[in-house]
């Protein structure tokens, strides 16, 4: 443990702020490119929320409303949450688990890379993909679903959802530190799909069975989707502050778990 802390605190090095910024920028850029070219990632993470939105929001129910909010608008919030969650979980956990388990992270750790840059790159990439998904939903909603909102509300919705990438990126880091390179993707699916359903991302929350509604109260995607719905005027009873608190608490817990994994790794035997 003492060795691990030493490594953590020791890691500062005299670089100009500009040099450090360049490293962070490149790390993020290449992480983004890496995922963008990974068909597995883009196919599942980008296309699913968009396809679902087109099907259920534009093709099937576009003229209907959920509790006074037009379906195309409502579903931007919920499929937006779904997309952000997928992009963030897969963007962090799968890569981290494989880098860790198959030695690539060791090569990076042996170099003078600032360790934080590696994690920051994953989070920034997840947020970027999240923004891409949300913007794609906006574009589809506006052009094909007749979604109309003041620009400020679009901006707030985008901001809320992209900020909502943080709890799931943190969760991904925690999963990535404890799952193996091959078990990480199925583990994420096991978390991601049931959570999405129970949080009302597929079937609007009000139509869910009572038991499921109870469970949803402890699930982060529920709170993020309620925040997003709140922006478009379709939120339910809890206050926005409550939702933010839950998400922040959840983020802290996940980062704590990830940190335990990080320290454990410092003294672990590899291959």
């Amino acid at each position: 443990m003492s060795a691990a802390t030493m490594t953590l605190t020791n890691v500062q090095i005299q670089r100009s702020p500009r040099h450090t910024a360049t490293i962070y920028l490149k790390e993020a850029k290449y992480e983004f490119l890496k995922n963008l070219r990974l068909r597995m990632y883009t196919a599942s993470v980008l296309s699913f929320p968009i396809m679902f939105y087109v099907l259920f929001g534009l093709v099937l129910n576009s003229k209907q409303a959920i509790g006074g909010t037009a379906v195309p608008t409502y579903l931007i919030a919920t499929y937006g949450t779904f997309g952000v969650m997928g992009a963030s979980l897969f963007g962090t956990a799968a890569g981290l688990a494989s880098d860790r388990g198959l030695g690539w992270l060791q090569v990076k750790r042996a170099s003078p890379m600032p360790p934080f840059a590696y994690f920051a790159a994953k989070v920034i990439t997840s947020m970027t993909f999240s923004a891409v998904i949300v913007l794609a939903l906006f574009a589809l909603g506006i052009t094909l679903g007749g979604v109309r909102m003041p620009a400020a509300l679009f901006a707030r919705l985008l901001g809320t959802l992209v900020a909502g990438s943080l709890p799931f990126s943190s969760m991904g880091l925690a999963v990535g530190y404890f799952a193996g390179p091959n078990s990480a993707p199925p583990t994420i699916n096991l978390i991601y799909l049931p959570m999405s359903f129970c949080s009302g991302l597929w079937v609007p929350f009000m139509f869910l069975p009572k038991v499921v509604k109870q469970i949803a109260l402890v699930l982060p995607p529920y709170h993020l989707s309620q925040l997003a719905l709140g922006v478009v005027g379709a939120g339910t009873h809890e206050s926005a502050a409550t939702h933010w608190e839950v998400l922040i608490a959840f983020t802290m817990i996940c980062l704590g778990i990830a940190r335990i994994g990080f320290q454990r790794d410092q003294e672990k035997m590899y291959g």
Binding site: M6, L102, V107, A110, S111, P112
Partner: protein, 326 residues
């Protein structure tokens, strides 16, 4: 081993200045498994040292300790006189490790660009590509490269910061002869620029071809150290090959024969001294033909050394025990 310690003490600061990497009385345990046992090992500036041993001997553990990726259970790992985890030291070292998977969707040039950005004064991308023999592969994605090309990319990432000290952990493992020779050329090229290199390998030929000094490691202990010539001299054996009617058991019975084996139509004997064995052979078999005598290669030297060390393991414990008793 104590002799080496005394030497450093006597030569004082001068000698210690020249040492760029060292393991000092290092033990490393993984749970109950002892990966390194009381290892004292030094790499001096400008030297190419090969850590030679079979799989599981502790080579990779030694490298990871010197890279600060592992902490010794006891003893000290030092690089440039300081802690290997010190970022200043990491600026001056490069490492080629055994990796299961490298991000495959990034291009060679992109990998190099990213790693170069970590260093204060990296080499120019063009020079890195040329040095690693990747001139025409910069735009290729890592996933589209052959095994040899992949190893050369990892080599490029190790040298991109223009480091003073280079760690190469089994650089040619799993490569075919041609790819191996190509990587050797690249390593020689970087060595000619005055770099200090520690390489691990289980190919004796590789250690012989590249290193100024070889440390043979087996079961976590360094069992021999010296120039390739010294290592060979330590077992100064001869190999006799001949076609003979004598049976394997008869041959083994001849005084001076360490080992005998059948090799296609001929017999191969490993001896300490060839002459007495030869006299005996010729006296016993008048039809003996196809006689060849050669120096035992590094291969045999290595085999003899490692076998000796495992045989004498119990022996050593007993003798050190009796020393304590006295």
């Amino acid at each position: 081993m104590p002799a080496t310690l005394d030497q450093t003490c006597n030569h004082g600061t001068l000698a210690s200045e020249a040492i760029v990497a060292s393991l000092q009385g290092v033990n490393k345990n993984y749970g109950n498994i002892c990966a390194l046992r009381d290892v004292d090992f030094r790499v001096r500036a400008g030297e190419v040292v090969a850590l030679l041993g079979p799989n599981g001997a502790g080579k990779t553990t030694a490298v990871k300790l010197l890279l600060g990726l592992l902490q010794p259970t006891s003893g000290k790992a030092r690089v440039f006189g300081g802690d290997p985890t010190n970022p200043e030291n990491r600026m001056r070292t490069g490492a080629m490790l055994q990796v299961g998977r490298v991000p495959e969707t990034l291009r060679v040039r992109e990998h190099i660009d990213l790693f170069s950005s970590y260093y204060q004064s990296p080499m120019r991308a063009q020079d890195i590509l040329a040095t690693a023999g990747l001139e025409n592969l910069g735009e290729r994605k890592f996933g589209d490269l052959s095994g040899g090309q992949r190893q050369r990319v990892l080599f490029a990432l190790a040298i991109c910061g223009d480091p003073d000290l280079l760690f190469l952990d089994e650089p040619t493992a799993g490569l075919d002869v041609e790819a191996r020779r190509m990587l050797w050329d690249q390593i020689r090229h970087i060595v000619s620029r005055g770099k200090t290199v520690l390489l691990t390998t289980h190919y004796l030929q590789e250690a012989d071809a590249l290193a100024d000094r070889i440390a043979v490691i087996n079961q976590g202990e360094i069992i021999a150290e010296g120039t390739p010539a010294t290592i060979k001299a330590q077992t100064a054996g001869k190999r006799i090959r001949c076609i003979t009617r004598l049976s394997l058991s008869t041959l083994r019975g001849i005084r001076g024969v360490i080992e005998a084996k059948e090799d296609r139509e001929a017999m191969e004997l490993h001896t300490g001294e060839a002459e007495p064995v030869l006299r005996e052979l010729l006296a016993r078999d008048a039809t003996l033909s196809g006689l060849e005598i050669s120096s035992a290669g590094l291969e045999e030297a290595f085999l003899a050394l490692t076998q000796e060390s495992s045989k004498s393991a119990t022996h050593v414990t007993r003798s050190s025990f009796s020393e304590e008793m006295q």
